[in-house]
């Protein structure tokens, strides 16, 4: 992210933003000229300026006329519903309000690309939910390419048009959130995104058989299937298993069950209370055949 | 000659005295603009040394405490002779034979004691007595020009010599800082006897300080506050006029009015001082003092431990 914004210089390679080369052989546009907006993880609001001054700063830096800057600032503040707090200092704002100021400031740079580094990481879950909605609405309205970095998959899936899974600086998979959830490209992605179970099964075309049970699978043929908890149900004629852990998650129990002869424990959701040691019979209703 | 322009004076006279001197000179030569800097001899010389080092000495005239320093500057060729100066009235020991520097007043060093002291000393030898043990204060020749000359004069005295200084050391004397510090130690009662320049106790006694100054039998040493013109002087005419003014009877009267012993034998000394003719001076040879300066200081350090 710091490479894209130009705050750090890569050793080699090429970076294009909105069809303009900003880094490459002999080219290195300084950050102040890249026309990117950044929402920092810590928001990086200037504590000595009021909300309005923070938001107006990019205009000031561009030398825009004062009246014009004031108009645009008011516009942005209204868009993030902060008009009433325009005179406050950042320290007198709540976490969510600060985040909105950071957003408004980043809009004010009229950037063609917006980079957001875990903007919701420091908020409490309630506020995070609200802000998520606002970010989404804002993105829909502004139509600016936005690069959103987060560790929270739920957040990523809720917000993204295109999602990339990165590990140690390399992309593991690039696709829509639904793609990545339902059709992970590798076992690593499968394990990283959401919960699920990977085990060996006998795959024939679009069907897999495991301990006598036959269920539909899709994806590249392989010996390993990946099953999401939603595709595991309790059925009297299912495979016998023993619950190893069960946590209440509000409305359902997140559980793991062990099947004889299988190392991995099966991830499943239960609608009723369960305790470690309970016996259940499992039925798989669908899986994804992992590539080798 | 046309006496005008800017005259730069470096002096170690106390502020008020320097101001009076300059004012009187300007009253006589209103066309001369005097720029003067006053500081302790050490600092004046340090400043001058730095200016020499940078090849840009500023002063025309130097008016400092002692002849030894002048002798040193003369040896380095830093002084300009003033052959026309009229020194006929003065004792020849007070003036440089080549007329490079001229004494302007006598600041003698004798014995001072606190009036609460049990003994009234009359000679240097009295200070070696039992009453004075651990009660002695004196300025260090490493700090004070007057103390250097005092040491040089006493150690070359046939009856006193270095044995006398060794005796002082045995008495627990502890040479400290300059004359100001010594005087304070005695006036404040930390010590009871000591060497100090005359005017401090004589003037302060009139204000009520518990001190008394003694001209010892053997005689006193004296610094003569010599004045000299630098060879690099920008305005030699005014500089010469300044020197002439200081050694004229008029300038000498001024010194007396300021409370110092004038060098001119015919000018009456200020209140509280004996007449010049009644004061016995220890013999002193500035050239020899300069030559022995390093040796004397080394010997002093050996005796007192620096």
């Amino acid at each position: 992210m710091r490479l894209i914004a130009g705050l750090e210089t890569p050793d080699t390679g090429r970076i294009d933003l909105s069809d303009r080369e900003v880094f490459g052989t002999g080219v290195n546009v300084p950050p102040e000229d890249r026309k990117v907006g950044v929402v920092f993880q810590s928001y990086a609001l200037w504590p000595h300026m009021s909300v309005a001054k923070n938001v107006a700063f990019p205009y000031e830096a561009q030398g825009v006329s004062a009246t014009h800057a004031a108009e645009r600032t008011a516009e942005h503040l209204e868009r993030v519903a902060l008009t009433e707090l325009a005179g406050r200092r950042p320290e007198a704002l709540s976490g969510g309000q600060r985040q909105r100021v950071a957003l408004a400031r980043c809009l004010a740079s009229d950037a063609r690309t917006i980079l957001m580094d875990e903007p919701l990481a420091n908020l409490d879950p309630h506020l995070r939910g609200t802000m998520e909605g606002e970010l989404r609405a804002f993105h829909d309205r502004s139509e600016v390419t936005t690069l959103y970095i987060t560790h929270d998959q739920r957040e990523a899936m809720a917000l993204a048009d295109v999602m990339a899974v990165m590990d140690q600086g390399r992309f593991l998979q690039l696709g829509t959130p639904q793609d990545i959830y339902d059709r992970p490209a590798t076992e690593k992605v499968a394990r990283f995104i959401g919960r699920g179970t990977v085990f060996e099964a006998d795959i024939r075309g679009s069907e897999a058989s495991f301990q006598g049970q036959i269920f539909p699978v899709s994806g590249p043929a392989s010996g390993r299937v990946f099953i999401r908890p939603e595709r595991v149900s309790i059925a009297d004629d299912g495979i016998p298993a023993k619950i190893s852990t069960a946590h209440y998650r509000g409305g359902f129990w997140e559980a793991e069950a062990l099947i004889d002869g299988v190392d991995a424990s099966v991830q499943l959701n239960l609608a009723h209370p369960a305790h470690a040691g309970d016996h259940v019979a499992l039925r798989f209703t669908g899986g994804w055949g992992l590539p080798d | 000659a046309d006496v005008s322009g800017k005259l730069v004076l470096y002096t170690s006279q106390p502020n008020a005295d320097a101001q009076q001197t300059v004012d009187a000179f300007k009253a006589k030569y209103p066309d001369v603009e005097v720029e003067w800097i006053r500081d302790g001899t050490t600092k004046v010389m340090a400043k001058l040394r730095a200016e020499f080092e940078a090849d840009a000495p500023q002063p025309d005239v130097l008016l400092i405490a002692d002849m030894v320093t002048m002798e040193g500057l003369e040896a380095e060729g830093r002084l300009m002779p003033h052959p026309d100066a009229d020194v006929s009235a003065y004792a020849s020991a007070l003036m440089d034979a080549e007329k490079h520097y001229f004494s302007t007043k006598l600041i003698t060093t004798g014995i001072v004691y606190n009036t609460s002291a049990p003994m009234v000393p009359t000679s240097y030898a009295d200070l070696l007595g039992e009453d004075a043990k651990d009660k002695l204060a004196m300025p260090s020749p490493l700090t004070s020009g007057a103390a250097t000359i005092h040491m040089s004069a006493i150690t070359s005295h046939p009856d006193l010599g270095w044995e006398f200084y060794e005796g002082l050391a045995a008495q627990g004397a502890n040479p400290q800082g300059g004359n100001g510090g010594t005087y304070k130690a005695i006036a404040g009662g930390e010590k009871l006897y000591g060497f100090v320049v005359d005017f401090l106790p004589i003037r302060n006694k009139l204000e009520g300080a518990p001190v008394e100054f003694v001209f010892p039998e053997e005689g006193v040493s004296a610094v003569t506050e010599p004045v000299a013109i630098l060879s690099t002087a920008q305005n030699p005419t005014a500089a010469k006029a300044f020197v002439d003014f200081l050694i004229s009877p008029e300038g000498q009267q001024l010194a007396s009015d300021m409370g110092y012993l004038p060098a001119h034998p015919e000018i009456a000394p200020p209140h509280g001082f004996p007449a010049l003719s009644d004061i016995k001076l220890l013999d002193f040879d500035p050239a020899a003092a300069l030559a022995n300066d390093q040796d004397n200081k080394a010997r002093f350090i050996n005796i007192f431990g620096g």
Binding site: - | K43, L142, T143, N179, G188, L200, V211, Q294
Partner: protein, 558 residues
């Protein structure tokens, strides 16, 4: 990059003019006369002994300062003693009193003619050797003089010590004593090391105290040895002085390097936001602790100051202060008759204020470069910091000589001479006191979140706009605090302007020194008394103004 480059180049030029040129010329003097002169300057017993004395007195006095300063800071920072504000204020005043005035005051306070000791019948016997004229006297007084420095540093660190660190120890069952020994002091280790180094370097460069107390005790330190060499008037004095000053600089730099090394080993990364101070309830021992504080104030402030006033109120030194002898003539003389006094107050105020302002801004830039991401730039910034540390330790008198060498001639190109003007004193202050301004600013810069600057960069702001709109406003409190310390230090200093003053350009310090030197002790005391009153008034004014400012601007405000 353009603006940044130009500023960086300008900064290097200024540093060259202020630090490298004068010190370089001095170094030329040291080695210019050839090896023989160089070695002869180091010859004899006096130099090794002075090195040892300097080292010993700095090490021991810094230890006294560390213990005293830390203890008071802990009491004021962690417990529920009352009147913290006024006590802090009073404890800091001794730091603002020039060292030679402190020494004079203490000598008078503990001597046979001490009004105070006479009143309680404890005055030493007339004619006895003054107890302060000794190695111990020098060390103790240096310790007292520099304890407030350590106090200030530790107090600031306590403010940023995360409170949960001590909370965790308390719920783990630690009593206050263990909490102090095992948690708080180890956590403060880097600060204690920095405070010790500060006290050490300050003691190393101190002239006033060893000059007034050490000379009579034949306890010569390097700065005093320089003075004595100057007093020998010979043609080689400058070489001698430059060589000895070089020794001081070497010791100072070695001390600072050692400090950085130690601190890097004891680095405890925990800079938190300001926290409400821990209030350890002292319960029954509170009156005891409060009495202790009161005694400390009595000893470090009241005793010397009353002695000074007692001397200022008598017609001549040695006359005991009684109803018959009391006179305001000395005050009348210096305040209304001597024009030099008013001029000195005026000059010192102007020069100290201008120096404080310039250094505060200068420090922001140097600290920024010393924390820069670019390695080469950071190196240069660090070098500037090291130079500042050196000039702080080099005795002021030597700085004076270096500035005479550098600026006696008219400046090239403009052909204006600054010699014998206030400007040269100002430049020397900039050189000598830069370290004081730099310290708080460096600390603040290291704490500053880099993303604040980056956020401005991606907003399209160039170097100057970022400096003026973001960095400077954010660092301003620390810079103001450094500036205030520079002002108070420069206001009273005597050695830096010792050779640089001229008639019309006197400073407060040189005026007091000249009175004392000329034998006018009572006038000197009166002037020193007025200076102390003026300093207290200034501090009170800053204190009052600081009520509105963000925390940390006025260094002593809790």
């Amino acid at each position: 990059m353009g603006g940044e480059g130009v500023t960086f180049a300008a900064l290097i030029l200024i540093c060259a003019a202020l630090f490298v040129l004068p010190l370089g010329l001095l170094a030329c003097v040291a080695i210019g006369e050839g090896l023989e002169a160089f070695l002869s300057a180091l010859d004899g017993r006096s130099v090794p002994r002075a090195i040892w004395n300097s080292f010993e007195s700095s090490v021991l006095s810094a230890f006294i300062a560390l213990v005293g300063g830390t203890a008071t800071a802990l009491v004021l920072g962690l417990t529920d003693v009352r009147m913290k504000g006024p006590v802090t204020f009073l404890l800091l005043i001794p730091m603002m009193v020039p060292p030679h005035v402190t020494a004079i005051a203490w000598v008078q306070a503990l001597g046979p003619s001490s009004a105070l000791l006479q009143a309680i019948g404890l005055a030493p016997e007339i004619g006895s050797t003054h107890p302060l004229y000794s190695r111990e006297g020098v060390i103790i007084l240096l310790g007292i003089q520099h304890a407030p420095l350590v106090f200030l540093v530790v107090l600031a660190a306590l403010r940023s010590l995360p409170r949960e660190m001590s909370d965790a120890a308390r719920v783990a069952g630690a009593k206050p004593a263990r909490l102090l020994m095992r948690i708080i002091l180890p956590l403060l280790a880097p600060t204690l090391i920095a405070g010790y180094a500060l006290a050490f370097v300050s003691a190393l460069g101190n002239f006033g105290i060893p000059a007034l107390l050490g000379i009579p005790a034949r306890y010569t330190t390097l700065p005093v040895l320089i003075w004595q060499r100057l007093a020998s008037f010979g043609p080689t004095v400058l070489t001698d002085m430059a060589v000895i000053a070089g020794l001081v600089a070497v010791i100072a730099v070695a001390a600072v390097v050692f400090q950085m090394w130690l601190a890097s080993r004891r680095r405890n990364a925990l800079i938190g936001p300001p926290q409400p101070p821990l209030d350890i309830r002292l319960g029954r021992i509170r009156p005891v602790v409060e009495t202790g504080l009161a005694l400390a104030i009595m000893a470090t402030l009241m005793l010397p100051v009353t002695a000074l006033f007692a001397t200022a109120l008598v017609p001549t030194y040695g006359v005991p202060l009684t109803f018959e002898t009391v006179t305001f003539a000395n005050f009348a003389e210096i305040l209304f008759r001597q024009s030099v006094t008013a001029r000195a107050f005026m000059n010192s105020t102007i020069v100290a204020a201008v120096a404080a302002g310039i250094l505060a801004i200068f420090a922001i830039f140097v600290a920024r470069y010393a924390a820069a991401q670019n390695r080469a730039v950071r190196r240069v910034g660090t070098l500037m910091t090291a130079l500042a540390e050196m000039t702080y330790a080099i005795p002021g008198l030597v700085i004076s000589v270096a500035f005479i060498l550098a600026f006696i001639r008219p400046l090239p190109l403009v052909d204006v001479s600054i010699y014998n003007t206030l400007t040269i004193i100002l430049l020397a202050y900039l050189c000598a006191f830069f370290s004081i301004a730099l310290k708080p600013v460096t600390a603040a810069t290291l704490q500053l979140d880099q993303s604040l600057d980056e956020a401005a960069r991606v907003s399209g702001a160039g170097f100057y706009r970022r400096m003026t709109h973001i960095t400077i406003p954010l660092i301003a409190p620390a810079a103001a605090s450094g500036g205030i310390l520079v002002f108070l230090t420069a206001y009273n200093e005597v050695t830096v302007s010792a050779l640089l003053w001229s008639s019309g350009n006197e400073t407060i310090g040189t005026t007091i020194f000249n009175y004392e030197d000329g034998g006018y002790t009572t006038l000197a005391s009166a002037m020193a008394a007025v200076t102390i009153i003026a300093t207290i008034l200034l501090m009170a004014l800053l204190d009052w103004a600081g009520r509105r400012a963000p925390p940390g601007v006025v260094p002593w405000r809790l």
